[in-house]
Symmetry: C2
Subunit: 325 residues, 2 copies
């Protein structure tokens, strides 16, 4: 691989001059500039970002930790984050934690060793202390860790509220909410809070199904839903914490001969592409994933540049009514 020395020789100038041209610093005549660019092209030279990173103490890399990028939500999140980050001059190292705390810790250490400029954490939270020691810009996604770590979230309470109110507006009289483990202090728990608040205020009987924190297995969702709907065949409204869970619910309903939305109305969450792809198309609470992703990157960038940032970054959600309600 050609180096700056090769370019200098080819152009007949000094290494310092080539560096001046590369960085557009100092006095440079047009003739010299052209000569240097010509040499770079002839040698097919591109500056070594590793060497530059070492000197500048900045890698222009963002680490993105997700539970698994195979999950449609995190797949779309990753696509938005990378697309926007790249447009801002950043590269994205993707890490799949599989919701394993020790693996998450390993990734954090790896990202630290690789001098990433910042980390977008969309996975399980470690102890607060681990983040404090990082000395590195961190933005969490739908997770509150401490009042010193910025996080991007959407209005989860409003999302839960919109969902339950629609179920009730559509005539549901017995509803259920499937969510993650409520023992984990996640911002998404507010959806459940809203679910309960509204159901209780309207005297509507409700059930809660908590999936195990470490399970992304669709089979599990289906088993739990099957058990729920078998035990309570009069449940006529389901609110699920993701579109994927909603799809699983549709499948279980079909298996039980329960028509959607005639017999059971279903509302998912996120509004991933799959929600409008399947039939019937899923009514869902849309999180502004593109905006949230862009905001995550912006927060990292601001922190890297030393600009002040808000700790809480909450975006509005939107009810997207389709065919399952």
């Amino acid at each position: 691989m050609p180096t700056i020395k090769d370019v200098a020789e080819r152009a007949g100038v000094s290494v310092t001059t080539v560096s001046r041209v590369l960085n557009n610093r100092g006095y440079i005549s047009e003739a010299t500039r052209k000569k240097v660019y010509k040499a770079m092209e002839e040698l097919d030279y591109q500056p070594n970002e590793v060497a530059r990173s070492l000197f500048r103490k900045r890698s222009n890399i963002i680490g993105l930790i997700v539970p698994t990028v195979a999950h449609p939500f995190f797949a779309e999140l990753t696509a938005y984050v990378e697309t926007y980050a790249y447009s801002r001059g950043y590269k994205v190292l993707i890490c799949n934690s599989q919701l394993d705390a020790s693996k998450e810790q390993e990734y954090i250490w790896m990202l630290r060793r690789n001098q990433v400029d910042g980390i977008i954490m969309a996975s399980h939270t470690l102890e607060v202390e681990e983040y404090r020691k990082l000395n590195l810009p961190v933005v969490t996604f739908e997770r509150f860790i401490s009042s010193r770590i910025p996080y991007v979230t959407s209005d989860n309470y409003q999302g839960g509220k919109l969902a339950v109110e629609l179920l009730l507006a559509r005539g549901c009289t017995k509803i259920a909410h499937m969510c993650g483990s409520l023992h984990l202090d996640m911002l998404a728990n507010q959806r459940h809070r809203a679910f309960m608040d509204v159901a209780e205020s309207r005297n509507v009987p409700f059930f809660t199904v908590e999936t195990d924190i470490n399970v992304f297995e669709i089979d599990k969702y289906e088993q739990m839903l099957l058990a729920l709907l078998t035990e309570h065949p009069d449940i006529d409204g389901l609110f699920l914490n993701s579109d994927i869970m909603a799809i699983a619910a549709m499948k279980v309903c079909r298996k039980l001969g329960r028509r959607v939305p005639e017999d059971v109305k279903i509302i998912g969450y996120d509004d991933v592409s799959m929600a409008s792809l399947v039939s019937p198309q899923i009514t869902t609470i849309r999180q502004p994933l593109a905006e949230m992703s862009k905001l995550s990157v912006k927060l990292i960038e601001n922190m890297v540049e030393g600009r002040p940032v808000e700790v809480e970054n909450c975006l509005p959600v939107e009810l997207v009514e389709r065919e399952t309600t």
Copy 2:
């Protein structure tokens, strides 16, 4: 951030000794080794991989270029590649080309500047010349570029054959295949070759629908399928080049009142998780994505280590019959 110098001072040894301990090279007494590790822990020191990369001329980074990681197939591919690569000591830079040739070229340059050890290319191919100039291990995914660039693929012809034969075995008398643009020299075109060969050999009328190369828009799939099935209402078998297309086909059938599989039998491709999640569950040709991903990483690793590799790496496919046939 603490450096090796800080560790040396804290441990009361030389930088060279710390380096000897870090790399387990040269004579080192147990007492000194303990002392150094203790200092590293006390200072929360981790070696700077950027500095190491510069010296070793190796970054342990693999660049993965996909059309978009938001697409379920590429999401799962990315998850497998990253998971396996990480277990082998590699980090993965994710790049979404959006099937834009100029963006693809930009990413290749970026990855080159960042001294990645290799590139797994799962996106649109550039001109062969661009790859030859790279001087860097490249493995393509489902794409043949030249006899000097290894590629990982599955038995596309067999996949097409299995699909059509199943359609015919299930009594289909008029079938259609939806695939990408056949003008692009893709290995997946062999599925269509098999589709035609079998249909022709059995005197079964068939149609082909080519999606525009640069479209991942589900709406387009639906429009094309709607037009096809409206114009040819007697088509009773559909073979589609991805499970996502298959889901779109199911949706269109539902819209037209065509029951699946009673009126129209559907076979997808890939066997992404979604294929078994939706209802009815999709019959599909399963590509061994986990193995293909692992193989991609192994090929990169072998090329990096200077070991000989096969150019053609073709894995078998498998018919997974579910509810749409």
